[in-house]
Every structure is written in structure tokens, then in C-alpha cells.
């Protein structure tokens, strides 16, 4: 087995180096155990880092999702108001956000998978470290240095392979997390710099401004229609008719004036 045998030989060579390091093989047990505890800390930190990164991506996804929902709502309002051009613009921006969102979703899934793998690796290592500790105490209590050598060799080789594996897994997860954090940071910066404002719906973006102003004139129309309706039911319709058209004149708003003349049309829109 060429590739795979060579890989396992290198793992064994690394373990042997560790065994040769100390004069008394029993000291190797303690030394190895210390390193195992350090590795456990390291892998747990790795899990926490990946989780933090995943949560950050999740927050960004939520933000983009909210912006998409808002654009969707704007498209609906615009269409309801007969402004297909605005609706189209809102939907175009919505679809531009989708690219970012899809990218974040992929990142999220990768981070989630990494987190699961690393958590499992951490649990495996934990079990092995516990087994090693038990064996270490037995070996130290039962055997002389010379007798213990073989058993120490087996225990250290086995756990050192696990340590090597976990160590690489942590390293890979950290590398990937760093890359993703850089990308997440770039999106955060884009959001902060306002470069995404063109495609995201800020409270005072142009689509919203147009909808607001349309909404405002509709509100005026509705209000006028309501007043007119109230006054029509009142006792002096003529005076009221006069004051309503006067109101239309003072606002200088053509739409409002029309609405005063045609209350039903104003209400319907």
C-alpha cells in the first residue's frame, strides 16, 4: 500500500521520536499525557472558533434575508400602486442579494460540517486520553522501566496517531475559518461602507422614498376623501364643498385636488 502505508509510517516515525526523547520511558508517559491535555484544550478552542464563525455568517444571512424581504414588500407596494418600474427595480436588487446569500449559505454549511467533525474528534480524543491515563497509571504501578517499554510504546503510538490526526483537523479548521472570516469581514465592510446601499434597502433609499411620497399623497387623498365623506353627511354640504376645494387649492397638489373631486377613485387606489 504505497500512499496509505507511507502515511501511517510517518505517523509511527513521529511517535517513535517522542518515545526516544526521554531516558526513562515512564517519563514519556507523563510527557505524552501533558501534550494530550494541551491538544484537548486546543481542539475545544478550535470548536469554539468555528462556532463563532458560523454564528457570524448566520447573522449576516439574517440581515441579507431581512433586506430581501423588505425589497419584496417594496415590490408588492410598488406593483399595488401601479409602478411596475419600481417593482422591477426592487426585484432586481433582491436577486442581486441572492448571490451573496447563496454564498453565505454554502459557507454556513461548511462551517457546520466542520464544527460537527471537530466536536466528534474532540470527543474521540477525550475518550482516548482517559484510556491513556488509566493505562499510564497501571504501567507505572506495575512495571519497571525496562519491562514497561513495550506497553508504553503501544500506548504512546496509538494516542500519538490520534493527536496527529486531531492536530491536523484543528489546523485545517482554523485555516478555513480564517478564510471565511476574511470574506465575512469583507461583507461587513461593504455593508458599513454603503457600497451595498445600492442593492440593499436602506430606510431612505430611492425606492422607499418614491413609495413614501406616493404613500403620502395617497394618504392625503384618503384623508380628503374621508373629510369629504363626513361633510357630505353633515348639515351644510355647500360650505363644506367650498372648503374642501379650498384645501385642495392651498396644498397646490393636483392629485389631492382630483381626489377631492373624485373621492371614490382616491380611496380605491
Amino acid at each position: 500500500m504505497s500512499v496509505v502505508k507511507r502515511v501511517s509510517l510517518i505517523f509511527k516515525a513521529k511517535a517513535n521520536k517522542q518515545l526516544d526523547r526521554l531516558e526513562d520511558p515512564r517519563e514519556t508517559l507523563d510527557y505524552s499525557y501533558q501534550r494530550q491535555l494541551e491538544m484537548l484544550t486546543q481542539v475545544r478552542r478550535g470548536v469554539a472558533d468555528v462556532a463563532t464563525s458560523r454564528k457570524r455568517v448566520e447573522l449576516q444571512m439574517n440581515t441579507l434575508q431581512q433586506q430581501q424581504n423588505k425589497l419584496d414588500g417594496q415590490a408588492r407596494s410598488a406593483l399595488g400602486a401601479g409602478r411596475e418600474d419600481l417593482a422591477r427595480e426592487a426585484l432586481t436588487r433582491k436577486s442581486a442579494l441572492q448571490t451573496q446569500l447563496t454564498d453565505l449559505q454554502t459557507q454556513y454549511q461548511t462551517l457546520q460540517a466542520d464544527e460537527e467533525k471537530l466536536t466528534a474528534a474532540s470527543q474521540r480524543l477525550q475518550s482516548k486520553v482517559e484510556a491513556f491515563r488509566t493505562q499510564k497509571e497501571t504501567i507505572k504501578a506495575t512495571y519497571t522501566a525496562a519491562e514497561a517499554q513495550t506497553r508504553i510504546g503501544e500506548a504512546v503510538t496509538g494516542i500519538s496517531e490520534e493527536m496527529g490526526d486531531v492536530g491536523m483537523a484543528v489546523q485545517r479548521a482554523q485555516d478555513k475559518t480564517a478564510q471565511m472570516q476574511a470574506r465575512a469581514g469583507a461583507i461587513d465592510e461593504l455593508m458599513a461602507s454603503g457600497a451595498l446601499d445600492d442593492v440593499t434597502s436602506q430606510p431612505n433609499d430611492d425606492i422607499q422614498r418614491e413609495l413614501d411620497s406616493m404613500g403620502a399623497s395617497h394618504d392625503v387623498d384618503r384623508e380628503l376623501a374621508r373629510l369629504k365623506g363626513e361633510l357630505d353627511q353633515g348639515e351644510a354640504p355647500r360650505e363644506i364643498e367650498g372648503s374642501a376645494s379650498g384645501a385642495g387649492g392651498t396644498t397646490g397638489n393636483g392629485q389631492a385636488g382630483r381626489a377631492a373631486d373624485q373621492p371614490q377613485a382616491g380611496e380605491g387606489s
Binding site: S2, V4, F11, A155, G164, D165, G167
Partner: protein, 92 residues
């Protein structure tokens, strides 16, 4: 025999799988040596799939060393080359 898939843990695999794994391993090595990504990826994927399907997980508290160690599933050819040198990817 005990087989480790890096990043996934150890599996106990029946020795009858050895010849098939040897054959896949030879193809993997040829692909790595030739820098042939198009062959490398499917061969690695197949190797891991065969071991996962045929193996039973080794108890987590076992301290037994593996006879064979397979690269992690998303390893690149460069990663595999790194696994083959003492100063490469394997820490320690």
C-alpha cells in the same frame, strides 16, 4: 485491520478488502505522481467510501495504532504529498 480515515477516526475493516484497497492505492499514487487531479479525486472518494461501507468504528477508548491511514475526504493532491513527508502536514 485497523484503518484510519484522517478527520473521521478509525475503522475495523476485514482483511478481504486489502487487495481492493491496494489496487485503489496504486491508482491514487499514480495520480499523485502524475499530478492527475481528474483521476485523483474519484479514486480517493471511492477508497474512502469502500472503507466507510465495509468498516465498523473502533471503540473511542482504544489506543491501538492503525495499519493504514487514509487522507481526509477533501484533501488536495498537495495535501497528500504533504502527508508523505516527515516535515509535511503531520504535526509532532
Amino acid at each position: 485491520m485497523i484503518v484510519r480515515i484522517l478527520g473521521e477516526g478509525q475503522l475495523d475493516v476485514d482483511d478481504s478488502l486489502t487487495s481492493e484497497l491496494n489496487e485503489l492505492d496504486a491508482r491514487l499514487e499514480a495520480a499523485v505522481n502524475a499530478g492527475d487531479e481528474a483521476t485523483f479525486r474519484p479514486v480517493l472518494t471511492e477508497m474512502l467510501a469502500r472503507v466507510r461501507a465495509a468498516g465498523t468504528p473502533v471503540p473511542a477508548d482504544s489506543l491501538e495504532a492503525s495499519e493504514v491511514i487514509l487522507p481526509y475526504s477533501d484533501a488536495s493532491m498537495d495535501d497528500v504529498r504533504g502527508l508523505l513527508t516527515e516535515d509535511g502536514l503531520i504535526p509532532g
